[in-house]
């Protein structure tokens, strides 16, 4: 009764029954009408024919599936010796006698147990005199065999079972639980039905038997295939290994011998691989600016971890030292932190050379320092240098305006600030600073992003600045950039996010007319 209390609200059940009652009645009435009119026999014949046809089709489909799956099963290597073929026969036998009911897929143990049993079979053939033949295998070899078999199996499953890449083991388990629950409920329904409408119930039971048979067949079919495929894979690689193939070159050997392309294809393939290799080149980001503008802080903020030192006294960054940002599974990024352009360590020549190779240049300038003449001169020199190298497209240049928290009113910091808000003094000052910097450095105002880089006050870095960077990249670079980041928004979302941030005034879209006029004369 626990079950009832837990899963069925009696009131809800009554409601459901009230809904269903008229329709169920129609079914009963229909049968009654058939019986009255004497058509019941004909109807039963139609039902029988339809069911037979459906069952036949289902059976046929399952058979077709089975043949298709069986084609995927690992076949013995043609080069194997007759003795090896004998061993293979044993493996096949083991595979064929494997009962799906004994190895439920939701219990992961079958991987090791079945794998061990297969290995045992193979090992016994090779080392008949050994007491426990499986012990003759080294650990790496065992693991290698299971690894290879699992990898192949994964490929087959992904390529042949629809939606398998979306299905998690958790999903399977969940589905199973629900199915059991539903079956329980259904059984209650069946009992009740017999009492209410015996004829209908009889037909239903009959129909159900066929249905279960046909669907159960398909599911059992897959399960059986899966286990068989696994055993055969493990057996295949075990035999391969025992018969003396060097395990570490196994992969290369199979790839080379089985998939050697014809010469023209191999040329094209080489081209494609080269292009792919180029895409895997690390992304080069150059960060420039005056001393203490916040270059190192920006890098630390962008990548969420501390890997360049920052200090109030300059000289913490002495050369164009690249920091390598590597994350497992992501594209590498080379970040070139630089000494301040006004520092004694700064070399203009080196900067220009590094800039030529960069995919992205970030210019950091402090909102609260207005002496930008030196920065503009350096920037102009960089622009001229870029125009003399026509073969290289100049990388996008973004301006990061740091220290906006130090603008007037000094002691106020309540982000976010809407730069279109005329009533907020701080927002006004940030906007004016952004506009002034855009004019001072001759950069479109959309590329000038106000930031705060203080560790506990970070603002606009991960969202506004990052989406602006992305917006300036072409597709290939953008993909690489996105891969440099871990927990960023999904690739399709960043454009939307950027628009939202623009609309909320987190950075500016246009220079106001007054500034435009100031530039014009």
């Amino acid at each position: 009764m626990d079950f009832w209390r837990k899963w069925v609200n009696p009131l809800q059940l009554i409601v459901l029954m009230l809904f269903l009652l008229p329709f169920l009645a129609i079914f009963g009435l229909g049968i009654w009408w058939l019986w009255q009119g004497g058509y019941l026999l004909y109807w039963l014949i139609v039902v029988a024919v339809c069911s037979a046809a459906a069952y036949g089709s289902q059976f046929w489909a399952a058979r077709r599936n089975r043949t298709a799956l069986n084609e995927l099963l690992t076949e013995p290597d043609a080069d194997w010796s007759p003795r090896t073929n004998e061993i293979w026969q044993q493996v096949e036998q083991l595979a064929d006698h494997c009962e799906p009911l004994d190895w439920p897929l939701d219990n992961i143990d079958w991987v090791t147990v079945l794998g061990k049993r297969t290995l045992d079979t193979v090992a016994r053939c090779y080392f008949p005199q050994a007491e426990r033949p499986i012990l003759e295998l080294t650990v790496p070899h065992t693991l290698l065999i299971i690894e290879q078999a699992s990898r192949d199996l994964r490929q087959d499953v992904i390529n042949n079972i629809p939606f398998s890449h979306r299905l998690t083991i958790g999903d399977c388990l969940q589905a199973n639980r629900w199915k059991m629950r539903a079956e329980k409920l259904y059984n209650f329904y069946r009992v009740g039905r017999v009492a209410i409408n015996p004829v209908n119930a009889l037909l239903g039971e009959f129909w159900r038997y066929f249905r279960e048979r046909s669907f159960g067949l398909a599911r059992g079919e897959f399960h059986r295939w899966f286990l068989r495929a696994y055993i055969r894979k493990v057996g295949y690689y075990a035999i391969d290994l025992y018969s003396g193939h060097p395990p570490l070159t196994m992969e290369d050997a199979t790839v080379a011998s089985l998939h050697t392309p014809v010469p023209p294809s191999s040329h094209d393939l080489a081209q494609v691989r080269k292009a792919q290799a180029a895409v895997e080149e690390p992304l080069r980001i150059l960060v420039l600016g005056k001393s203490n503008a916040g270059k190192s802080s920006l890098i630390n903020a962008l990548y969420g971890k501390l890997f360049t030192p920052t200090d109030i006294l300059p000289g913490t960054t002495s050369l164009f030292t690249p920091a390598l940002l590597i994350r497992e599974g992501f594209t590498q990024a080379l970040i070139f932190d630089s000494p301040g352009i006004d520092s004694i360590h700064f070399s203009k020549h080196e900067m220009l050379q590094t800039a030529l190779e960069a995919d992205l240049i970030i210019w950091v300038t402090a909102a609260n320092r207005s002496d930008r003449k030196g920065e503009r001169n350096m920037l102009d020199a960089l622009r001229i240098h870029q125009t003399t190298h026509l073969h290289r497209r100049p990388p996008p240049l973004l301006v990061a305006v740091s220290h906006i928290d130090l603008l007037r009113p000094f002691n106020e910091w309540y982000p976010p600030y809407d730069l279109n808000d005329q009533t907020n003094a701080k927002a006004n000052n940030i906007r004016e600073a952004v506009e002034t910097i855009a004019t001072d450095l001759d950069v479109p105002v959309t590329f000038v992003i106000p930031l705060c880089l203080k560790e506990n006050k970070r603002y606009n870095v991960e969202d506004a600045f990052w989406t602006t960077i992305l917006a300036q990249q072409d597709n290939a670079l953008r993909v690489r950039l996105l891969r440099c980041q871990t927990t960023r928004k999904k690739s399709e979302d960043w454009e939307l996010l950027r628009k939202q941030l623009l609309n909320s005034g987190r950075f500016l879209w246009n220079l106001p007319d007054t500034i435009k006029n100031r530039i014009a004369p």
Binding site: K290, S291, N292, I312, L313, P314, G340, D342, S343, A367, N368, R369, S370, D371, K373, G374, H403, L406, L407, R408, P409, F410, N411, E412, A425, N429, E432, A433, T436, I437, N456
Partner: protein, 413 residues
């Protein structure tokens, strides 16, 4: 114009004097000529502010003068467009600020400014943001200055301390930078930045002292209290290096007074100095001095938003009483006569004349401030108090002036 010429034309001069005293409007050309002459005779001391744009120079001007009209750079746009003077108060200055623009933008050559300052009392204030470590340009300029003038003292002002407050949002009170060693309550980043700037010019040529004062002069709306953090220490350093009583001249008393009173005081002192400058001339041009005094009264009337017409003038003079008027005239005349005595009379007369016309102007201004204040509040003007203020102010005015005059005399001798 010799003295004899002056005497020969006296009826005409007298008429002018009468009209000046009794008429509210002042002849602009006469006034300008008088001010120019006064400025030449007794130039206002120069505070030379040297620093990058937005290092906080304007904030210093605003804090020292208490004037809200001084335009404050908003932290991102250079508000100084050229190397300029800022005279305070504007027409008859007590002090002149020399503001150097565009350091780090153009190749600045300090020779001209050095030359300018060399001719008058001055103090070099070097202004730098504490967080702006890279001050090479500034340091090389002061190196040049000290190589030429090893005896010039330097006042180094480190501003915008709050930029290096790590987490704190309040100033450390009381101002702790006079302590040695500094207390640990000063954030270490700030300490290191301040010391790094000091260490950078440790090997400056010259022997005069270098004073360092960390300040944070903000606007009230910036949210830091007090908004003039470290101002007292700055004044102390200025008075020590340039003992002219500037603080008293600019703010009269230590106590906080309303904006009107402070501005009125500054105006009065400024005109008193101008009058003193004229009084030191061998031939005192009564018309010129009177023009200044008339202009002072006029400015004060504008400041207190009071009508200043012929009726008000005669009422004020009437209340001041004939005693004051007679004393005023007799002083003028006796002073002129003293100057006729050859040699000793010239010098003594010059100083006395200067302090006399200056003190008279000061007293006149102070009396009129009382007059205008009472009228602004709709109260009666008590002639007794008015006369007492006039008499007392003659003495305080003389005291204020003598300090300045002595410094000038020492300089010229």
């Amino acid at each position: 114009m010799t003295y004899l010429d002056y005497l020969r034309n006296w009826p005409e001069q007298w008429k002018k004097l009468q009209s000046l005293l009794l008429q509210p409007s002042v002849d602009q050309s006469v006034l300008e000529a008088s001010l120019r002459a006064a400025q030449q005779q007794l130039p206002a001391p120069v505070l030379w502010l040297l620093g990058k744009t937005q290092s906080g120079k304007t904030s210093i001007i605003r804090a020292l003068t208490g004037s809200e009209t001084a335009q404050i750079g908003n932290g991102f746009q250079p508000c100084t467009r050229y190397s300029r003077f800022y005279d305070f108060p504007e027409t008859a200055p007590i002090v002149r600020f020399l503001d150097t623009r565009g350091i780090g933008e153009v190749d600045y050559d300090p020779a001209e400014d050095i030359d300018y300052c060399d001719r008058q009392a001055h103090l070099l204030l070097v202004v730098m943001k504490a967080a702006d470590i890279n001050q090479q340009e500034i340091f090389s300029i002061i190196n040049d200055v000290r190589r030429q003038h090893p005896h010039w003292p330097l006042l180094m002002v480190q501003t915008s301390l709050h930029e290096l407050y790590s987490d704190a949002v309040e100033h450390i009170l009381p101002w702790p930078y006079q302590l040695n060693p500094w207390p640990a309550s000063i954030p270490s980043e700030l300490q290191r930045a301040l010391l790094a700037q000091r260490a950078a010019i440790a090997n400056l040529p010259g022997d005069a002292p270098v004073h360092w004062v960390p300040v944070d002069l903000t606007l009230p709306e910036d949210g830091y209290t007090p908004s003039d953090y470290g101002l007292a220490a700055l004044w102390q350093a200025i008075e020590q290096l340039l003992p002219l009583g500037l603080q008293q001249q600019l703010s009269e008393e230590q106590t906080v007074r309303d904006v009107y009173t402070r501005a009125a005081h500054q105006q009065t002192v400024g005109y008193a100095f101008a009058a003193a400058g004229l009084g030191a001339l061998p031939v005192v041009d009564l018309v010129a001095v009177t023009a200044l005094q008339a202009k002072l009264l006029h400015s004060l009337a504008v400041l207190y938003r009071q009508r200043w017409d012929a009726r008000s003038v005669s009422e004020f003079v009437g209340l001041l009483g004939t005693g004051a008027a007679t004393a005023y005239l007799s002083r003028m005349i006796s002073r002129t006569l003293t100057k006729l005595i050859p040699f000793a009379g010239q010098t003594v007369g010059a100083i006395w004349g200067a302090s006399a016309s200056g003190a008279a102007t000061y007293a006149l201004g102070k009396a009129s401030i009382y007059f205008f204040e009472q009228r602004k509040q709709g109260l009666n003007v008590d002639p007794e108090i008015l006369r007492r203020i006039y008499a007392e102010s003659l003495e305080t005015g003389r005291a204020i002036l003598s300090e300045r005059l002595r410094a000038t005399a020492k300089r010229t001798s």
